[in-house]
């Protein structure tokens, strides 16, 4: 099921932290605080797998993606790509890194330059890296790519505004796979698309992953989409990874109360089948500029105890291959109550 443990992990994230300073004053700026967007996270990504990052607004999932490709530099911690710290790469070596890791963005409207033709947008990586420089070769290659992602190669000279949202997202995908990267990071790639178009793009990503042997890091707030796409899933809350588990394990037996609440909150498109005891969280996500001490979830947690306000739980093995950062992980009975019918314990039963 999982494409794990084939030698060393492709990407190792170690205690990665990113704080954005909050400053006051116009000329003499002084720092008055920090938004702790990512606050000490560690995980591995194995070659060929799809790792999902889920969480709500402000949990740090997009910042994590930007740190992985070094669009941002970390405050502390490391990202090791094939064993080498990417923060130490400079010049040509950094350029080489970007050949290996590419990104697809959420908004297909703002991530494409409106004044360039589709052909030149997709060819840009080749221009940067000086590939297919011979006359005509680049165009031929770009048209092949367009065909591969399901765009009409004859539309080479059109502009982004002539395409629909789904087609624009395909342009973004074509640009990202142009250099045949090893890793593709997709940051909410279907959130801006209509339901009937979402499936087209998701199927395209899955097909490309199969064909090219891509490692995919898939970021989304939509738990159903992540379940569909990912082998392993990391759940983030306020800059921390609170649970990390295999896809089936996470969805059938979540251990962290936050994961349980997330799954419980997802509306199920079935009028009767989805009935369950909703675990409604109260309030909103606290500000990452001033996160609660100890366990960050304690202000909203239904299982909160005194110790949760004092001691920060570590991300550790809670059995069945699940890592969770919680003093009082969910029990089977609680999971059965909260989750939509047909989800809780489904895979456990199938295996037993």
């Amino acid at each position: 099921m999982t494409a794990t443990t084939k030698g060393a992990p492709l990407i190792q994230v170690r205690e990665l932290t990113k704080h954005f300073p909050i400053t006051r004053g116009i000329i003499l700026q002084r720092q008055v605080g920090a938004v702790k967007a990512v606050d000490g996270i560690s995980f591995d990504v194995h070659a060929g797998e799809t790792l999902g990052l889920v969480g709500e607004t402000g949990c740090g999932k997009s910042t994590t993606a930007r740190l992985l490709v070094r669009l941002l530099d970390p405050t502390s911690g490391q990202v090791l790509f094939e064993g080498e710290d990417i923060a130490k790469r400079r010049g040509e070596r950094l350029k080489a890194l970007h050949r290996e890791m590419q990104m697809i963005f959420q908004d297909p409207y703002s991530s494409l330059n409106p004044r360039k033709t589709v052909g030149s947008i997709i060819a840009e990586p080749y221009a940067i890296h000086g590939l297919y420089a011979e006359r005509g070769a680049r165009k031929k290659q770009v048209q092949e790519l367009m065909d591969r992602v399901g765009l009409n190669p004859e539309h080479y000279n059109r502009y982004p505004h002539e395409f629909s949202g789904g087609q624009r997202q395909r342009i973004g995908v074509a640009r990202a796979i142009a250099l045949e990267p090893k890793v593709l990071i997709a940051d909410e790639p279907v959130s801006a698309l209509d339901v009937s178009i979402q499936a087209q793009v998701l199927n395209l990503l899955k097909r490309l992953q199969r064909e090219m042997g891509l490692t995919l890091i898939f970021i989304s707030h939509d738990l159903s989409v992540v379940r569909h796409m990912c082998d392993r899933v990391a759940v983030m809350y306020l800059g921390k990874v609170v649970e990390l588990a295999g896809g089936d394990q996470l969805y059938s037996f979540p251990r962290h109360p936050y994961t349980g609440a997330l799954l419980s909150a997802v509306p199920v498109p079935e009028p009767a089948g989805g009935k369950r005891q909703r675990q409604l969280l109260t309030g909103d996500v606290p500000s990452p500029a001033n996160p609660p001490p100890a366990c960050r979830f304690h202000t909203r947690c239904p299982k909160v105890q005194e110790v949760c306000r004092r001691e920060e739980p570590l991300l550790e093995d809670k059995g069945g291959g699940s890592l969770a950062a919680c003093h009082f992980p969910l029990t089977e009975e609680e999971v059965a109550l909260q989750l939509p019918a047909g989800l809780a314990g489904s895979t456990v039963a199938a295996e037993g």
């Binding site: 009937s196 499936a199 199927n203 379940r227 997330l262 199920v268």
Partner: protein, 366 residues
């Protein structure tokens, strides 16, 4: 008894430089007190325009509106702007998708609530302010007395949406129209807002129209559902009918193209091919035919009407396929067959030998 809101054959078209946009094309629906109608569709399906028109918000020189919008027997479409203003925000209210752009950034939230009340009834300022705090409390905003004196930017996304709902409830409306009320929100907050709407409906007994693209949201909230495509209702029925025995190929497509939490993981998604049509140059015949896997030649010419589904009272569909063919295709889809495999079932040859052509329909199920 006639329904609270009864929309009959509503048509809305906008005259633009590019041509006439037929945003809503002959839509009829109704909703009763205490009930929830869900309108589902993708962008450009006309779901928002039809509800804005209900409130007279699409009236302009370049818009043509026809049909009847009967609210308690009065036609909102022909009503004077003055009279309509007295109903809008009072008896019919609306909550919008983006709470930040629907609240005025310069005024305190409490002031905006007070204004909503004092526009429609004469109550003293102090009493209105008191009620504003009560309303914020009702929608679950903590510390409402302090919050009434805050500005929208001091509220989080979920709280702004709650404040919007509070404003919509200020005058105890008979009908609440919620246009994508939770699309901008996180799932945990979405669950809170949906539970809140449900609770308020039970307590205040209002009718709700919920407009969304999210099938999960309608399944959990709506009693009746109308599926819209290219300005028309293509299928209508109770929530159970739409989800358990959908009839229209577009509804099948929607249901099959979303990943769900409770289906096996490896299952391939079945997208709807192509994309929604232009509302200026609409396809001939059935508007869905360019994307429909089960299209016949005749469907490109004949325009289907919304007709009752036999043996299923209250369920209506606008599809030219025979009911029997539709149910065989839907059974096949549920068994995991692809639309391409089942397309042959819809062709006239297969239909003429009904009974003798079980090759695909009743084939061995996996």
């Amino acid at each position: 008894m006639s329904p609270l809101l009864d929309v009959r054959d509503l048509r809305v078209s906008f005259h633009t430089e590019d041509g006439v946009v037929h945003a809503v094309d002959g839509v009829s629906y109704s909703v009763d007190t205490g009930r929830t109608l869900g309108i589902v569709g993708e962008s450009g399906s006309g779901k928002t325009v039809s509800s804005l028109t209900t409130l007279g918000l699409t009236r302009s020189r370049s818009t043509t509106i026809s049909g009847e919008i009967l609210f308690e027997g009065e036609d909102l479409n022909t009503m004077s702007a003055d009279r309509l203003r007295r109903i809008r925000g009072n008896e019919i209210t609306m909550i919008f998708q983006d709470p930040l752009s629907s609240l005025h950034p310069f005024y305190k939230v409490g002031w905006q609530l007070v204004e909503a009340m004092r526009t429609h009834r004469s109550i003293p300022k102090a009493a209105a302010r008191e009620r504003a705090a009560e309303l914020l409390d009702l929608v679950g905003i903590p510390d409402p007395r302090r919050r009434v004196d805050q500005f929208p930017h001091e509220f989080s996304g979920g709280m702004r949406q709650r404040a919007m709902i509070a404003m919509a409830l200020a005058n105890e409306p008979k009908l609440l129209i919620a246009d994508e009320p939770t699309t901008a929100l996180d799932v945990t907050v979405q669950a809170q807002i949906l539970a809140l709407l449900d609770d308020l409906q039970r307590r205040l007994g209002m009718a709700i129209i919920i407009i969304t693209h999210d099938l999960g949201v309608v399944a959990e909230t709506a009693d009746e559902i109308a599926v819209m495509y290219a300005g028309r209702i293509v299928e209508r029925g109770t929530a159970e009918q739409i989800f358990n025995s959908p009839q229209h190929p577009y509804t099948w497509g929607l249901l099959q193209s979303i990943p769900r939490l409770n289906t096996p993981r490896g299952q391939e998604l079945v997208p709807i091919s192509g994309r929604p049509p232009s509302l200026i140059n609409r396809p001939s015949g059935c508007f869905f035919h360019p994307r429909c896997p089960y299209v016949r030649e005749a469907h490109k010419r004949i325009d289907p009407r919304l007709e009752a589904v036999e043996g299923d009272p209250g369920h209506e569909v606008a599809c030219l396929l025979e009911q029997e063919v539709r149910s065989r295709i839907w059974r096949g889809l549920q068994q995991g067959r692809t639309p391409a495999e089942l397309a042959a079932l819809a062709q006239p040859e297969a239909v003429s030998q009904t009974g003798q052509a079980p090759s695909l329909a009743e084939g061995p199920s996996a």
